[in-house]
Amino acid sequence: MGYAIRTEHLRKVYPGSKGGSAALEDLTLDIPDGRVYGVIGRNGAGKTTFVRIAATQLERTSGSATVLGHDVATEERAIRTRIACVPQESRPLYFLNVEEVVYLYLKLRGLDPAESRARTRDALDQLSLTEFRRRSVARLSGGLRRRVLCAMVLASDAEILFLDEPTTGLDPIARREVWEAIRRAIRERRTILLTTHYLDEAEALSTRLALFERGRLVLEGTPDDLRARVRYPYRVTIFGAYPLEELQSYGRVSPIEGGSLVFARENESRELARMALEKGLRVSLGPVSLEDIFLEVVGKAIDDETPAPEVEA
């Protein structure tokens, strides 16, 4: 297994930032090739800064970063022929139609017209956009526009695809169509760096994940690695009344409507589930979700906009 992206002590301070605070601090990360690598974090966590440095759109302040073995600071040209990017908040040119967006992007990258046409047809088909192919971008919903941009880069010949919040604004069905297209890209052994606010999306698609908070890497690994690193890797949901003091002896308790949610270690969670069943209560037991992990590590939900407390790397 090789690495698509590697960083060492990567740091970014934007010119003119207040007090010289870093948007990205001491990031050392190895991203394997041929997989989906998820980057999650709240707004301002440093996800987009990292993507933009790796996609050669933004200068780094210090440290190093290589993409496919090439330095992002000195070998941009070698990198750019092998990458494609859907930037956060990007929109397709509104005067083009759907087919033109994809086809002209491929021609812009230097692909010949016949290949561009064939790839465009496939990509539109994969993302269920064929019926909209002649429709002007100006007449598309926000979600469809994002889908067109995804089709555009997925149709390319790039080895690494940077998808920065690609499914924002998409309905659940459209999101799953994008997921399917991403999975197909993986079968072609391409690397995808995916940043997302949707933790279910990150979990469903990513082989490995990095959790960013306040410009720092807080957790990194496979979803199972991440679970193993938290204090309580299992969640027990109990429907019905159960003495709170007893529950607290098993782990961390959160009240939910009609019952309690308990985060516990494996043995304790099994024991608690057994006890609850013996009391005739309805119980569900499973590993914690990525959302639970995020909440435990960061101390805030991913969509919480307030500053988080200091976290340990």
Partner: protein, 248 residues
């Protein structure tokens, strides 16, 4: 990227930013004819037709400069509102190809205006081999420095509204105040000196001289070409070192 692929990218940009928008909204073509023809009309009224020939030369220079102001707006809009420049940066397309492609696409918009002025140029009996060569050369240099200037500025703008503020100033300083639409002798002495800071003064002087509107000695023509080429080269050097293709 091979030369063939560079050419393909360039032509794709012309199609993408020139031909397709015009197909969608043909009124774009009228837009670039409107300003130079308005000036021409004004000059015709005020001079009772006597200085109309200057208006023809000035109209061509203004049309080429309009390519620069149009490019400036498009580049800023694509960079900030659509993030299209970021998409292009993370692709094999290089900055000079991107800028040249968009600058050529802007030229497509100006073709009707250029056609109108070319007809008037022939109508006034200006079209000799020498004057045509001088005209094309001078206009190409105006187009080139306007492109380099527009690209550099656009990479510093934070919003497309800043370009709306800047474009009229750009036109005022480069086409209205300098003697593009009239002979330099119409200006008072101090203004003639100030006009020498504008590269369009040299372009207009060359064309006005080549078509016989103004006397132009060999040495003056040489100085005009040298200044115009040097100014254009300087703007390209500034663009190469100061324009932000990759954000700082």
């Amino acid at each position: 990227m091979s030369e063939r692929n560079r050419l393909r990218s360039l032509l794709t940009l012309v199609q993408l930013n020139g031909l397709i928008p015009i197909r969608t909204q043909p009124l774009y073509l009228v837009n670039l004819v409107a300003s130079p023809l308005s000036f021409l009309f004004f000059i015709w009224i005020v001079s009772k037709g006597a200085d109309l020939a200057y208006g023809v030369v000035g109209g061509m220079v203004l049309t080429m400069l309009s390519v620069g102001t149009g490019l400036q707006s498009d580049l800023t809009h694509y960079r900030h509102d659509l993030k299209f420049q970021d998409i292009v940066v993370a692709s094999p397309v290089e900055a000079p190809v991107y800028v040249a492609g968009l600058a050529l696409s802007e030229l497509v918009y100006s073709l009707p205006a250029l056609a109108v002025f070319a007809i008037l140029f022939v109508y006034y009996g200006f079209a000799t081999v020498t004057s045509s060569v001088v005209l094309v050369g001078a206009l190409l240099l105006v187009w080139s420095f306007a492109t380099a200037f527009a690209f550099t500025l656009s990479t510093y703008f934070q919003d497309v509204r800043e370009t709306w503020m800047f474009s009229p100033i750009f036109s005022l300083v480069l086409t209205v105040l300098p003697p593009v639409y009239y002979p330099i002798g119409y200006l008072p002495g101090w203004a003639q000196i100030a006009a020498r800071f504008s590269p369009t003064t040299y372009a207009a002087e060359l064309v006005q001289g080549a078509v016989g509107l103004q006397p132009l000695t060999f040495s003056t023509a040489t100085i005009d070409w040298v200044v115009l080429v040097a100014f254009t080269a300087a703007l390209f050097v500034i663009a190469a070192f100061k324009a932000r293709w990759k954000d700082p």
